[in-house]
Symmetry: C2
Subunit: 330 residues, 2 copies
């Protein structure tokens, strides 16, 4: 079988899973851009609907609008709540989506908001977006660790069947979470610090602890976190392979955090005008660039060409997240 045949076979039969998008969580966002993922052969995408910079009401409004938009286009998209529904969507050539929230400010300090968001399609939630909040510490803050409220949230997420996500979260809080929970934990979109010494990236110790829970680390496609200013598929593959070597092939996935050009225009302004969330030393002047879902095919090629077993490539591109979703989602 030629390399291209192998790539096509993987794209055809494996659920290609992108664990996190970079949509601006705003009812004004243009969801026609979801076409970028569909066209690239991605089968499942977690769409972000909020992050700690925004008031909780904005997350609610965004979620209502995103649901409505997706439900109005049943020929192209399916709002799913199970892996069976993802498989059905793939079989019909539709993009399967669920939602994620980056940071627990969206809970408004109320534990009942977890089930509320779950009911509306949120299947993944991370603790703190860069700065501390009521649930725990952010990766660019004095990390005070997992709080009592954060532990309540974990219990509730475990009960309901959601991915407990520790991306953007402070070191101590990530370790606290992984010690506290009795379920697998994910870094939906975090890269190894060993390849790029950025405060948003994670240490070997965090990576190994995540794998020990049975969890997954998703490689993120931003130049700032990939290092060397690169976003090409070879660089993505470097991070994937580093994680495979350290955590094992069953604990690596993809979470590109892709934001399409129309929004990239504004992201520099948002970053530079919120140094509290994006400290100047961690986010120096310069353009944020992104690996695109359009690189999916190429990334598969690169990994195969480098000698990664087909089984490993399948697992990284989606098999691992599918396995974990089948285990965790209810």
């Amino acid at each position: 079988m030629s390399l291209d045949d192998k790539v096509q076979s993987i794209l055809k039969s494996e659920v290609i899973w992108d664990a996190h998008s970079g949509f601006m969580p705003d009812p004004a966002a243009d969801l026609n851009n979801l076409r970028i993922w569909s066209d690239a052969g991605v089968d499942y995408l977690s769409i972000d609907v909020g992050f700690d910079l925004l008031p909780w009401e904005k997350t609610v409004a965004t979620l209502a609008y995103f649901r409505h938009w997706i439900l109005a286009r049943p020929a192209d998209y399916t709002l799913v709540s199970s892996t069976d529904e993802i498989l059905a969507a793939k079989a019909q050539g539709k993009l399967a989506v669920t939602f994620d929230i980056e940071g627990m400010n969206a809970l408004n300090g109320r534990i009942e908001m977890v089930e509320f968001y779950h009911r509306l399609g949120v299947r993944q939630m991370l603790f703190a977006y860069n700065r501390n909040n009521l649930a725990g510490g952010g990766c660019h803050d004095e990390d005070t660790g997992l709080t009592a409220f954060g532990r309540q949230v974990i219990d509730e997420m475990n009960r309901l069947g959601m991915f407990v996500d520790v991306t953007h979260t402070g070191y101590r809080t990530t370790m606290d979470v992984m010690e506290y929970t009795d379920r697998p934990v994910i870094f939906s979109h975090s890269n190894p610090k060993a390849l790029c010494a950025h405060g948003r990236n994670i240490t070997d110790e965090q990576i190994k602890a995540c794998a020990r829970t049975g969890g997954i680390i998703g490689v993120v496609g931003l130049n700032r976190f990939l290092g060397e200013g690169r976003t090409d598929s070879e660089r993505l593959a470097d991070h994937v392979e580093y994680l495979i070597d350290l955590a094992g092939p069953r604990h690596v996935g993809i979470g590109l955090d892709y934001a399409f050009p129309v929004e990239v225009e504004g992201i520099e302004d948002i970053i530079s005008s919120n140094p509290h969330f994006w400290p100047k030393n961690e986010y120096p002047e310069g353009k944020t660039t992104y690996s695109s879902p359009a690189q999916t095919k190429e990334l598969i090629e690169v990994l195969l060409r480098r000698g990664q077993p087909e089984r490993t490539v399948r697992d990284v591109m989606g098999g691992n997240f599918m396995r974990l979703a089948r285990e965790i989602w209810k």
Copy 2:
């Protein structure tokens, strides 16, 4: 069969339906009071989670809390979305509940909020609470009629399968709604003006128009709307019988709007401090009192004793709303 045997038979085999509660829509509300309905033999209750006096965010917060509270008590309560689930709940001795919202300010002017609330368990929504809003006119305002936004909301409610409710709504808007929709419309809790000349009550013309859509008028249990300062079961029966005579036995139900004593303490202050929503001439000083769900058994007795056929009593106590929910809810 003795009268008491007949009453017991109805309570046992018919789904007793209260189309609207008078809970304060606030996360601080004590839902242990739901026990009042269970103990009275009520099988289904629509719990209000918002009204136009409150900001939409309050409705969202209330809904999240009420959902959470109910879902945490599966031995006593079931959050249902179909009549089959109501029958299952009754068979297991549980109170079945869904939610309603009084007034479309809760939509925040966004059509996508209809599906959002539906997903969270709202199965009934009325247009305007006493004062005009973006959707239509209130019963204590200069009624400017159903708006373009209001028509969009009707289309969306019909599509999703929700009760379009015209209680608290201005005369012209109620007539516009009943002309516009091609589905049955309800007055979940409104009394005939012929028996009590209050601005919140409805004319014979409105009652007949509602019945012509295939809809239902639910008798409300407040002294202000029952007239003569009464809330006793004989007075409730007077309103029930007036509606039966005018609209026919298939178009009458119960929507008590009961608020238990702990909250009744505060209602006078709320009313008197918001003359915009409760005009002084319509709501003179004096206590608001309520018919209680505890009168359910007595109301059945009174109606039977007055010679209403058992079939009619069954329909009024719940059969009609069950039939309509089976037709409308999806």
